[in-house]
């Protein structure tokens, strides 16, 4: 959020001027540096400190601090958007499955089961790379190949079951309750019952899962981007920055360590908030807690064992 301000401070420009050049003196030589997505010129790998605070990144000599801030923006945007899409999809599916039961439930629950039992990261990686090469065309939905919507699509698609399954269980239980019967007796249609009566009762679970899901999606994104199947250059995210940084680890360790540290701090904060929300909103719910702990721990990167966690 503060990224444009910082870019302005160091280079005297706003966020949208990409080819911002500034000069800096390193070892008595005047050199050019560039902000977030600018042209590659300038001093390579000068260290942290001074006006540019964290120095410059790899061969391109871009300002590390500015990139870190813009990268964080991308990572957060992807994390939040993917979590939002996954949560909405999951809630709708869970409501349909839990309320109508019968073949609707059979179809939805089986599909979720299949996604659940897939090696999600591997398939997400495949989809990520296929989309990064060719873009997406799915009916009216069209995404160009370099877009950040590709990782968002991949992440939200594969994380739906983690939210949908526990919520479906709750919907099943809730739709047996008297207040649902009362609503039906008053002549409320299925839509009204689902969204007006059952949905409000799910609010606390949804909020908790949404928070944890942001952390999870960010880790997923970092994994995809790290392997080159997520955010595509010239956009940067913390994951892609680590890829670049690892190659230069013995010269400039901070280039790899800082984005990693940022990911950890963000994910940790989100998890702590999620935990606190869970304690505040939902003191019961032991089984759901285990399931949530499990997916937190595996960060979506190594998902697949959650069905057992729910039965512990």
């Amino acid at each position: 959020m503060a990224a444009p301000l910082w870019a302005n401070h160091v280079a005297g420009t706003g966020p949208n001027e990409e080819h911002t050049v500034d000069t800096v003196t390193v070892d008595g030589e005047e050199k050019d540096v560039v902000t977030p997505e600018g042209k590659p010129i300038g001093p390579q790998l000068f260290g942290a400190g001074g006006k540019f605070f964290l120095g410059a990144d790899s061969r391109l000599g871009r300002d590390e601090m500015v990139r870190l801030m813009y990268g964080g923006r991308t990572s957060l945007q992807i994390g939040i958007t993917a979590a939002l899409i996954a949560t909405i999809l999951a809630v709708v599916l869970a409501l349909l499955a839990g309320y109508f039961r019968g073949w609707v439930d059979g179809l939805i629950a089986r599909t979720l089961d299949v996604i659940w039992s897939l090696p999600v990261f591997l398939i997400g990686l495949s989809l990520g790379i296929a989309l990064a090469v060719g873009g997406l065309k799915l009916g009216p939905l069209e995404i160009s190949s370099g877009s950040n919507w590709n990782p968002i699509f991949v992440i939200s698609l594969f994380t739906v079951p983690y939210i949908a399954r526990p919520i479906r269980g709750q919907v099943l239980a809730l739709s047996e309750k008297e207040f649902v019967e009362a609503a039906v007796a008053q002549g409320a249609g299925p839509l009204r019952v689902m969204f007006g009566e059952i949905l409000p009762n799910l609010a606390s679970t949804i909020i908790v899962f949404f928070t944890l899901m942001i952390a999870n999606s960010m880790l997923f994104e970092a994994g995809l981007s790290f392997l080159g199947a997520g955010v595509q250059p010239p956009n940067s995210s913390w994951g892609t920055m680590i890829t670049v940084g690892v190659e230069l680890l013995n010269i400039q360790p901070l280039l790899a360590i800082l984005p990693g540290l940022m990911i950890m701090l963000t994910v940790l904060s989100l998890n702590i908030v999620g935990d606190a929300l869970r304690d505040a909103l939902d003191p019961r719910g032991k089984a759901r807690m285990d399931a949530a702990l499990e997916f937190e721990a595996h960060g979506g990167v190594a998902a697949g064992s959650q069905q057992q966690a729910a039965t512990i």
């Binding site: 090696p119 296929a130 994910v267 057992q308």
Partner: protein, 320 residues
């Protein structure tokens, strides 16, 4: 039991079929750009694109293309685009490194995870428990992206205690094999150590409230015997199931990233390089073979679990 196995295997085949269809759809149907166009490059002439289409069969109907893909997968004829190297050979070459990494890491995480979990459960509420809880929560929170660079930088480049990973085959030199793998093992295991110790701790605390534990104490068994023979034993069952599933998931997930970070010459590194070069067939091969492996392991774990716990066998009909 036999009925359960048959049902579980049938479900497995269903999932395998779904996996292959999903992978096919991912690579051949979803992308907006024609795969032949991708292969031919950005500035290819339409004639070249057509010829590539014909050569690789991209112009056949989708059903035929799916059939060809499955045939190639099972006969091992899947080759990368350029140069044309058979994918299954490359995968076979990667197996030793990948399995050394994951099996070693699994042993480490199981051992330390259970040890820490046990210690923290028998001292629940005490200072040792608090320290261990802190340690495992920290372990859960550190992503491999952070842990690997930090370890590599300090222990390999600065202090030069460990070599820069690379893979040395066990048959060549067992000592070097282990020395090269210690950092990757630890990196891969840390997250699970934290997680397993938490799971075991909470399981043990639950089991300690069971009636049979009180009975065992009342019988006059020593505290140690109660803990190991009654509490620990019964808390282990879910942990072991979890382990079987995590192992498959790790191979298809975090292990890929760990291999890349430590440049270990395994299947994950092969897949990652293919990703970098936008080579689709190797990724398709790794995804399919990897998925088959994971699904297979999951089925085995379920069967083993059903064998150990009759409740699972009998209660299978419910969907939860």
């Amino acid at each position: 039991m036999a009925r359960f196995i048959v049902r579980r295997l049938a479900a497995m085949i269903g999932v395998l079929f779904a996996v292959s269809v999903i992978v096919f759809v991912v690579f051949m149907v979803l992308p907006k750009q024609n795969p032949a166009q991708t292969l031919a490059g950005k500035n290819a002439t339409p004639v070249l694109v057509k010829s590539i289409e014909a050569e690789w069969g991209f112009d056949d109907s989708l059903v035929v293309q799916y059939g060809t893909m499955m045939k190639k997968i099972f006969t091992g004829e899947l080759t990368s685009y350029k140069p044309r190297i058979p994918v299954d050979n490359q995968i076979k070459e990667g197996i030793p490194a990948t399995f050394s990494l994951t099996i070693g890491a699994a042993i480490i995480w199981l051992f330390f995870g259970l040890l820490l979990g046990y210690l923290s459960a028998i001292r629940a509420g005490g200072w040792l428990d608090r320290i261990l809880t802190g340690v495992s929560i920290a372990g859960i929170s550190i992503p491999v992206f952070l842990l690997a660079p930090v370890l590599l930088y300090f222990l390999t480049y600065k202090l030069e205690i460990f070599p820069n990973a690379q893979y040395v085959d066990f048959s060549e030199d067992p000592y070097e094999w282990a020395r090269h793998l210690i950092l990757p093992w630890f990196t891969l295991a840390l997250l699970s150590i934290g997680f397993y110790s938490r799971v075991l701790r909470s399981n043990m605390l639950d089991v300690m409230n069971e009636d049979y534990v009180r009975t065992a104490r009342a019988k006059g068994l020593s505290e140690r015997e109660v803990m190991t023979r009654h509490v620990l034993r019964n808390s282990l069952i879910p942990v072991i199931t979890l382990f079987g599933l995590d192992f498959g998931a790790t191979i298809a997930g975090t292990a890929i990233i760990t291999e890349v970070l430590f440049s270990l010459d395994g299947i994950g590194l092969y897949a990652a390089e293919a990703v970098r070069k936008f080579e689709l067939p190797p990724i398709m091969g790794v995804a399919l073979y990897g998925a088959f492996f994971v699904v297979f392991v999951n089925a085995l774990v379920d069967i083993a679990y059903a064998y150990l716990d009759p409740r699972v066998r009998l209660g299978e009909s419910s969907s939860e």
